[in-house]
Subunit: 412 residues, 2 copies
């Protein structure tokens, strides 16, 4: 296990050797808004990522996947360019051309090839990306590059987010102190299968590209793919893991090594903190809900049950109202799609309160107990299926009036 040298509530965002960030006001959609971020990587940095499964995936997702999959090992990724305001999704061939132009212009400025640049966009779908404004903003990003701009970077990629999301920790792995710092954005259109719209985590650890890929998949699965706000899978979701390799350590190259597992845990911890920050900032969210499903036959069925609960507007409004209308949770378990589920065996807990068992309300349960837990700002729903040994945890938020207001007003 990695030794966490910083408590999770640390406000300090630590620079990562080999990673610089530059922010500018490009006026992509609105004036006087820092909306363009350039992340420059030192030579030798390795990058791996996971992307949205949406078939209408955005042009920058297509281009980033292409650049990562055709990477020349001697010419690694040198820059990531992120704009907010316009998603460049649902934009057809023209959108692809604009995403590629962003890479070309960045490459010219940095003296690398376009294939060494990864583009990312977030914002409104089906509107053309004003690429000329992005091109005009890039030199300002370049001039502003700093290693300690993680906080500003987190703010620059926000859309409906109300707070920037960032996390930073140091770990000791194989005798070396390594740093992991990440930022993420997302508040709506949040659903597994890449939940955050954008997440960038950087570390100075040394690790092979193959192992970096397996770490990013593991971390995504246990963090960004385990949250939901509204069940909508965005067109632009991307989670990128950058390893600059500048830490004084031997390269992690064996998935069986203690160093690999420590590194994987460290990255997953930071990704989980970022993913939870997205849920806490879920559009209109007033409560943070943890859903644990235990003793299932396999993880897939545990996830079905957990997300049936997490997606139910009826349950989410009951949380908003602090109303222990907990039969709605039984209903969601019942329609989660496990066809041979025997409801008599299921136990439902709200925090430590046993609410239901043997197909109905527990004899010991009193509504005052449920009421007490429902009033909390953080609530754990625990479902014990009693049919196997698999388990899963997902995080979500409640559904409030503000969710409707935010999404009704987003473009105006």
């Amino acid at each position: 296990m990695p030794v966490n040298l910083n408590p999770p509530d640390s406000k300090a965002l630590l620079p990562v050797d080999g990673v610089e960030l530059g922010i500018a006001e490009a006026g992509v959609r609105k004036a006087n808004r820092r909306d363009l971020l350039l992340i420059r990587l030192a030579e030798g940095a390795k990058v791996a990522g996971v992307f949205t499964q949406n078939r209408f995936c955005a042009a920058p997702v297509v281009v980033s996947k292409q650049h990562l999959s055709t990477l020349d090992p001697d010419r690694g990724i040198r820059a990531l360019v992120v704009n907010t305001g316009v998603a460049n999704a649902g934009t057809g061939a023209d959108g692809l051309a604009r995403a590629r132009q962003t890479c070309n212009e960045t490459a010219k400025l940095l003296g690398c090839t376009a294939a060494q640049v990864l583009p990312f966009s977030t914002g409104v779908i089906m509107e053309p990306l004003p690429v000329e404004r992005i091109v005009a903003g890039l030199p300002h990003c370049l001039a502003a590059l700093r290693a300690d701009a993680w906080g500003d970077a987190a703010a620059a990629i926000m859309t409906t987010d109300t707070v920037p999301k960032a996390a930073s920790r140091q770990f000791e792995i194989g005798g070396a102190r390594i740093t992991v710092t990440g930022i993420a954005k997302g508040a709506g259109m949040i659903h597994p299968g890449m939940a955050t719209m954008l997440g960038f985590v950087a570390t100075d650890a040394k690790i092979s590209t193959a192992l970096l890929k397996s770490v990013v998949a593991h971390a995504a699965n246990h963090s960004f793919n385990a949250i939901t706000v509204d069940g909508d899978t965005s067109t632009n979701d991307s989670f990128m893991l950058i390893a600059s390799g500048q830490a004084p350590m031997a390269e992690i190259a064996d998935t069986k090594s203690a160093e690999y597992l420590a590194f994987r845990d460290a990255i997953t911890a930071v990704a989980t903190e970022l993913a939870q920050a997205i849920v806490r900032d879920g559009e209109g969210a007033t409560k943070f809900i943890t859903i644990k499903v235990e003793a299932g036959r396999d993880e897939a069925e545990c996830r079905k049950v957990a997300f049936a609960i997490a997606h139910s507007p009826l349950i989410k409004t009951a949380f908003f109202a602090s109303d222990p209308n907990l039969g709605r949770i039984l209903a969601a378990i019942g329609y989660a799609g496990i066809n041979d589920l025997e409801v008599e065996g299921i136990e439902l807990y709200l925090d430590d309160v046993l609410v239901a068992e043997r197909g109905g309300r527990s004899p010991a349960y009193e509504e005052a107990q449920g009421q007490r837990v429902m009033k909390q700002a953080e609530i754990t729903v625990r479902v014990v299926l009693n049919r196997g040994r698999a388990a899963t945890t997902v995080w979500t938020c409640d559904l409030s009036h503000d969710y409707v207001s935010i999404n009704a007003d987003y473009r105006s």
Copy 2:
């Protein structure tokens, strides 16, 4: 095709020979509320039904299914008892006993067996059914039995519904004039796999039980199973089709006959009108949305796309705001779960306006066109997949502030 003798907007609810309805105030959950309905059927009536797929299905659903599946052909169903206020779901063995007691007491009053009675409940989940109040109310229902009480019956089964839902039409089938009258309730927890919480349609047509079963399945699939308000599948959903057989006609006994098809269309038409009434009264609904998905490989994939759109809170809030933020619809099509979908072939229409094609916004599309349609109270979204010949239609409503208010306050 059946000849429809009444226009669909007819207000008159026609009695059905052999079917009587009695309503009483039983005080199930609240006082001074007509909350108990007894439907008495003349001897020889046939009943078929479809029920919720929810694994936590309610005790009355379990009992009704049992009574229908073990029916003695010489002792058909004679009564349906419906209460609102408490759903008797998530109530375990005790709930089953209470549902059975309702049947026993009804049977005593009517001089039939308990197996000839079908119980139905709707309301709050996981609370015990106050069966003693229902038993006390039954004699009042019996005393109130009338053939022309369909309107009162529609009102008596409401929960969060704001208007009673009923439809009535006459058709000529095989030279005989037959009547179809139905009522339904439901406004939230509405999702395919039995969408209405409760629907009862009665006709005086003569038809074999086997064919009645196939008609009820067909009608449900094209009506109640093609609507969604919030994606929650209730524990209590039941759609019952009653054929009293009192019309002067030969029994419909051949699925290939013109009479069978005419009857099926007539029942489906009434069921569709009731299902659409549920959507129009969807919790907090301000708009009625028709979603047509065409030119798919099979109906299953058309339904996936249609329900991805119909369930998206982001799309539903955009309809509420009359905001033509139509990229959200492309996003939903993209995450509907068709893994080999080529987005370049898809066309998206809002009413007659071509919004998107070739993976992006149509060159001819102007936002003012979308804005005009989005302001309407009734909107059709049409998605042409261009990969086959299958099609489907589903109906839904928007997501408004009032949905949150209604579900946050439902129990208080």
